[in-house]
Amino acid sequence: MSPRVLLVLMAWLWLVPAAASDRPLAPASVPGSQLVSAEQAIDLIGAQPNLLVIDSRRREEFDKGHVEGAINLLDTELTRQVLLKLAPSPDRPLLFYCNGERCLRSSNSARQALSWGYRKVYWFRGGWQEWIDKHLPVAR
């Protein structure tokens, strides 16, 4: 591959996401999961003590602050075995979130959990951005 072709390819790879940077990346919904807001997430945490809150962001983001009680599990690290270890029963409620509208990790994780047979999957689409915008408690 000539250096010129490489340069053009790099420019393309950089330009395409840059041009699309204003659009939300996350889907509007994940079929089979229930979409929740920050307030609904808090109510769920209070109402269902066995709710497993999964933070799909990177470790360093998680360490700066996260929803109290959440565990950090990146979508790329989420496998059926890992999830089975954390939630052996498919009836265990799961709540996924990541950075918000600009993030695909939590929707991917929710979709995977659904494909593995989990029946109570909640997706907090607004994610961390919505959480801090609403000045909700930050756990570290």
């Binding site: 307030e39 109290e68 408690p137 570290r140």
Partner: protein, 517 residues
Amino acid sequence: MISVERLSLRDATIGIALVSGLVAVALLGFSAYMFKSAAFDSQQKSVARVIEVASLEVLSQLDQRVFAVGTSLQARPEFRAGLERKLASGEDAGLLAALHEPFVNGYVGAGQLDLVKLRAYDLDLVPLAQNASAVELPPGLPPVLRQRAAGRTGADRLKAVSALWLSPRGPLYSVLLPVGGLQVKGYLEAVVDPAYNLGAVAQMTRMPVSVFGMDGRLLHQSAAPAETKDADLPVTYVLPAADGQSAFRLVGLDDVTQLRAEVWRTTAMLLAGIVLLGGLAAMAAVVFLNRFLFLPLRGMQADMERCAGGDLSATVNRRMVREFRVLADAFNLMAQQLAARIEELRLLSCRDSLTSLSNRHHFDVALALEWARVRRTGNWLSLLIIDIDHFKLYNDHYGHLGGDECLRAVGRVLAGVARRPTDIAARYGGEEFAILLPDTAADGAYGIAEAIQGEMARLRLPHAASPTSQRVTVCIGIASCSAAQCDSAQLVAAADEALYRAKHRGRNRIAVAENEG
């Protein structure tokens, strides 16, 4: 009061032009002033908006930092334990110790916040404890914060609320955040002095900014310039507290050197444009008015005065603006009509109405003039006096209308004979006629007399009552003289005498005066 009759069009025009010029300059000055005010007002509004945005950004950053400080403090196990002990047994030593603890942490330690107070509340926002600090605040949650925080339910109780509020010691910024994470047990209020952070507005806006309290106290001043320049425009923005009252007065000094220069440049260009264009227009107007109004008017005045002095041949020059050209045309027409009427009257006053020859009066005037000319030039002057023979009998026979017709016929003969422009044929009285022949000696006059008689013979006017002939005949007396030989009266007398002699010799005769020179 100026009487309008004494006012000249030229003076009035110059006066109006001067007044218009002065008004234009005054208006220009006023509009330049308005333009400058508008430019500076607009600049002031823009810069005030910039300061507003910057101060809101500073408050937003402040809010995040206070929130971070509060979050880290309430997460400490000793704080949570202290709060729980206070709630359970009322023992507040642990809580107080925890409240005093954070003065070494993060933002505060790094000098990014001026933390004034930390206060703990239970779930009903009843005060539990506060740290001891140099600043004493009124007990309890600030009213505006209480308004926002009280009465919330569910997840809303977990949301941190914040407000800029007015305390007796000045404006303060409070953030109230839940303690205990998602299982809220109480609240923590972190109170900071925002004046400490508002100095950052200067860095954001890149201009010197001073922060004043509403009591006029200087709370913060950015690195001020060595001296305040004339070009600095003070811009004030009043930052309101959450309840709408004024909290801070931020005064920025905006460097308006460039704006000032642009305003001056625009004003100068406008002035130069108006002076140049106005001057050119005024010059063109002066040239035009002078050429086609004032000068022609002066000429018209002179021409009119000439006309009034009797020279009706003088016409007014009509090359001027339309209104005055119409006037000139009307005047010229009037002068022309007047000249025609005068000529008509003059002719009427010189003519004999029956024969159309000169009348006796005109003859006398002409004789005097010609005699004077003879005296001057030394030329000959001849006079013929013609009398119709037996005219009384003719009148008796043919009646007065017939007599008149005869006189007209003789008049036509005389007019036909005296053909030179200087010859004057006149009806001298009754049936007597006279012909004045300038520059003509006796022999020339005699030839004329013969021509008259020849014409009369050729005409063959019947005279049935005449004892001497069957036709109308005339007798002619001739007198001639040159310079210094006679005077006009003598000339007439000599011609009369010759006529008498001619009559005496019979009828249809010509006689020449004997004393001719």
